[in-house]
Subunit: 137 residues, 2 copies
């Protein structure tokens, strides 16, 4: 399901020059396949405050469809990032919360978010300049 990897995913005989960067890239590919989609990090962010019920999450995030929230939570649960607790009451109640594994992810994620905050203006500026250069010419 990743970008491209051998069946093994371990032995990759490149030409000969470098090894570490390729490993980094594959690791990044793995990570992005897990959190790079549209809603995953939103869910993680929302759950970082503590456990939440399904509809609470949906309202908290906003814009996410019933279906996609379900799928996203399923995937997160499958990867061991979210703990799902169902109370067999009527009406049913299901709590979602981050696992320790997910909490360990928040640090690096926040670093990236910080980078986005810090350089948002630069990027928008670069875009504006680029667009102007290309459209006018």
């Amino acid at each position: 399901m990743a970008t491209n990897e051998t069946t093994n995913g371990e032995t990759e005989l490149l030409h000969d020059d470098e090894v570490h960067p390729a490993a980094d890239c594959r690791a990044m590919g793995q990570v992005l396949d897990r959190i790079g989609d549209k809603w995953t990090i939103m869910v993680v962010g929302a759950l970082s405050h503590g456990p939440m019920r399904f509809n609470a999450l949906m309202r908290r995030i906003g814009g996410v469809s019933h279906r996609m929230l379900t799928l996203t939570l399923r995937r997160l649960e499958r990867d061991g990032l979210v703990k799902r607790t169902a109370f067999p009451t009527i009406p049913p109640r299901v709590d979602y919360e981050l696992t320790p594994l997910a909490h360990s992810l928040i640090g690096p994620l926040a670093a990236l978010a910080q980078w986005g905050e810090d350089h948002r203006v630069e990027i928008e500026q670069a875009r504006a300049e680029f667009d102007q250069r290309t459209t006018e010419k």
Copy 2:
């Protein structure tokens, strides 16, 4: 272009409880819209060693089509992350290199990649257990 944001992008009156996490999530959304696609981080990784020509990049990355590499490089150039230098020789020669802005991104990115490396096994294990639980029952 992002996931979902107000016209302003700044004033977002939530219920009342928290403010910072929402900002973080939006920032993350911005970042992921830029680097969350299939090839961007591969290109950044490949270019982190130094300037490279188009076909060298293509061979270095492997699996990327001519078209997608072009598009990815264009987007990176537009965002001010890649510097494109064309030599009007025959045959033409074009060098791509990361800008300082892109280099400042590598740190946080590497942190995330490191996280992926560190927890890959845990995740795969969680997956295996989840799949077994769901298929057998």
